[in-house]
């Protein structure tokens, strides 16, 4: 029992110091094969919306499928309409620096029920890492859509370094890293992308900076608060990219300018 606790402690210390085991662990658990519509969502026909769902590895494929469908349905409901409340506070007094971001989101249960009653599966993919599904709402007949073959991640897209500019669209980027579960990582990256988009629309920014100087010292204090409460309609996760070398997940969210 004692040995076990010491071993755990040793691993924890090595991981704290940023050594390699963390990366090996995350690479083993992250995804490598995907479908093309997971990397880049295709344009849906007029009057139709697409959404993507995914699940991790399950022994029972039907459960994996159901979990992926449930996530895709929730994503669709969020896509249609979502209320986002964001606030970040940063306090710094020269010695201490505190950062406290809060994220709140809510979507309508009635919209989710509407979608549940009228959706269709466009495509799905089962890989060694998990299950991927593409849904359409409202339910459509057979779409002229190429059923994609599994692929590996392409090269780094331009939107990671520079946010796209458009007269019609607003974008937001979500980034997360070092997750042991790729499912959790994508979920969070998608949510962060949506919140990032909200910030690019409207944000209230308040701050107080004080600088106190005397003959010997300079003390800088800062209180910063930024917040918004916004309802987004038709905000879609249009692209995703995984940096396998650095274990970083990126999501791009897009919404029409209102």
């Amino acid at each position: 029992m004692k040995r076990k606790s010491i071993v755990i402690f040793t691993i924890a210390v090595i991981q704290l110091c940023g050594a390699f085991p963390n990366r090996i662990l995350s690479e083993a658990l992250s995804q490598t094969v995907i479908s093309s519509w997971f990397e880049q969502l295709p344009e849906a026909p007029a009057g139709t919306m697409f959404s993507v769902g995914y699940s991790g590895k399950y022994q029972d494929v039907t459960i994996a499928e159901q979990v992926a469908i449930n996530l895709a349905l929730k994503n669709m409901a969020k896509q249609k309409q979502i209320q986002l409340i964001f606030e970040v506070e940063e306090l710094a007094d020269g010695k201490l620096r505190l950062l406290n971001p809060t994220f709140e989101q809510s979507y309508e249960e009635s919209i989710l029920i509407q979608i549940k009653n009228n959706f269709s599966i466009v495509d799905s993919l089962l890989t060694e890492d998990g299950y991927f599904i593409l849904l359409a709402y409202p339910s459509t007949g057979k779409l002229s859509f190429d059923s994609t073959k599994p692929k590996v991640w392409g090269s780094q897209p331009e939107w990671i370094r520079e946010l796209p500019t458009s007269k019609d669209w607003i974008y937001g980027v979500g980034i997360v890293a070092r997750y042991s579960s790729w499912v959790r990582a994508w979920k969070d990256a998608d949510e962060y992308a949506r919140f990032d988009l909200g910030k690019n629309i409207e944000i209230e920014a308040e701050s107080i900076h004080t600088v106190q100087r005397d003959d010997r010292f300079t003390i800088e204090s800062k209180i910063l608060r930024q917040s918004y409460d916004i309802t987004l309609r038709n905000s879609v996760i249009v692209e995703g990219w995984y940096d396998a070398k650095r274990d970083i997940y990126y999501s791009l969210c897009r919404s029409a300018k209102q």
Binding site: I6, T10, C17, E90, R178, N200
Partner: protein, 184 residues
């Protein structure tokens, strides 16, 4: 058994000292984005850069974005108050007295504004040891600020016109009559 335990406790400690020693890693100059050191300049756009180093990438991004946006808000609306104090102190007696001169200044910047369409145009994420260092470039198009002001002015004008339409000269005369009646 005790020796084994002590050894087991010392190994992680040694690893910690080897791997974590030397304090916080600093960003290498060549890795800092050019746009962070020299933000672009334009007549119609305000650019401000921000950065933050955190263990969590998501937190690093939040902090650097917030700092870049704060830079924009401070450029747009800043109330600055400065205070300068001079102290002269003398201690001791006669020729042994020591005069101390002490200068202290305090400056305070307060900003409070709503940013519409302020976007993080560029972002880079670097790794420094086990930390993520995020660099963000916020961009605020002044045309949107002008448009916003124009829209607000239009709204105000519409409100004024509406109030004017509701308040006719007849109504005004009636109000004056009422006041005169009270005066009598």
């Amino acid at each position: 058994m005790k020796k084994v335990l002590i050894l087991a406790m010392l190994i992680p400690l040694a690893l910690m000292l080897v791997n974590c020693g030397g304090g916080k890693p600093k960003a290498k100059m060549q890795e800092i984005p050019e746009w962070y050191l020299n933000p672009p300049q334009a007549e119609d756009v305000i650019y401000e850069a921000g950065d933050a180093a955190k263990m969590s990438m998501a937190l690093a991004k939040e902090a650097s974005d917030a700092r870049a946006r704060d830079g924009i808000s401070r450029v747009i609306e800043v109330k600055v108050s400065n205070m300068l104090k001079n102290f002269m102190q003398q201690s001791g007696l006669g020729e042994d007295a020591e005069a101390l001169e002490f200068t202290s200044s305090v400056s305070k910047q307060v900003a409070n504004t709503v940013l519409r369409g302020c976007r993080i145009a560029k972002r880079e994420m670097k790794t420094e040891g086990s930390q993520y260092h995020a660099y963000s470039l916020a961009e605020y198009n002044l045309n949107s600020l002008i448009q916003e002001t124009l829209n607000e002015a239009k709204k105000q004008k519409a409100l004024y016109n509406e109030a004017k339409a509701n308040l006719s000269f007849d109504d005004l005369e009636k109000e004056i009559d009422k006041l005169e009646a009270i005066g009598e």
